[in-house]
Amino acid sequence: MKYPPSLVALIRELSRLPGVGPKSAQRLAFHLFEQPREDTERLASAIMSAKRDLHTCPKCFNITDREFCDVCTDPARDQELICVVEEPGDLIAIERSGEYRGLYHVLHGAISPMNGVGPDKLMIKPLLPRVAAGMEVILATSTTVEGEATSLYLQRLLEPLGATVSRIAYGLPVGGALEYADEVTLGRALTGRQRLTR
């Protein structure tokens, strides 16, 4: 049996999405086929509108549909505190934690020479003019080797500017038993222990 070309095209496009294998692409295609026309139209136009309306904030490189993003234009945010993250999704994860009230800077990646990503490919240059003496910059890149290398690179660049540079804490996740933690994390959790005060 030959598949109808428009079914083939749909399956091919869907299987380009990250995390969607050929089997799930087929399942998604059949699902879309069984939905009412309004629903599929809503999906297609949501995809088009998002692409048309969204761009990166010229200040912090977060995703936005205005000139500057919601964080950059919020006067209640602490303007002396910048949290540097790798991806827009990291920014959203931090926002969701509800523990942070400063600004952000999205690098759009981490340094990885073997993948052709040097510092010049990341939004590092536009970060420097944002940092002034007396401010704090929190390096919240991943705790992978790539994220740690990016953090060390930024530390060297930022310290001469007179800013306080800090690194997101390594340690045990909430809800964990020591027994299930790996040795490296456990070692970092011990050396990074926090003094308790009443």
Binding site: I111, P113, A149, D182
Partner: protein
Amino acid sequence: MRSRTANRVGIVIRRAVMPAGDVILTLLTPQGKVKGIARGGARGALMSRLNLFQHLAVQLYQTPNNDLATIQQATLEGALPRLSEPERYPLAHLLAELADALFQEGEHSEQAFELFAAALRGVAFQPDPEWVALVMSYKLLAFAGFVTRAERCARCGAADPTGLDALSGHVVCRACSNLPRLPDELLGFLRSVARTSVRGLMEVPLPREVRPAAWRALERFVTAQVGDVRSWRSLVSTQLPATA
């Protein structure tokens, strides 16, 4: 036996995170290069162990229907955290990328593994990581059978060649190349690197001012003989001017 598992100990030379959170690792082991996928490895219990340049013991499970083995368990044998430092990090990438290009899957070689492991350790701990990377790059190439011809002109066979051949990366005579003459120290290094011990080479580092030429010679040779290596591009930009 119904078992399809194998245990391997090696160093992670490549790591890619798939969108669903799976991690694909390439390890260089004494039994050759192996590739495997850790399902959910970007969030699960194995997370801390599945990192670049780490020395791991893994259990691989090979199913008949999949080419990519599954990484089921991983224990950390050793990490080299100093490789994240700006002056060491791009050099470690270069060595890993070279090893990935030079050694094939299933090609059993304890010596290749030991050489690469020594190279990474050297870059992590030696005070002059740039020199370690240069020497060990040439040593890895030589081990894989790629030796720069520098004693005689690679084209016409004339003695004492002095310039680089843009096409092959070998050294040629003035008649065969119009590129400028290589520094004498570099010529000496290129002529002796394959037969001198690592220890011997480490004792007589090339002066700093000659190193850019040495990197260019290496880049040309690797590009011509082995193929494209992406880490070159970051070699300059990643290292901060202050520390390079």
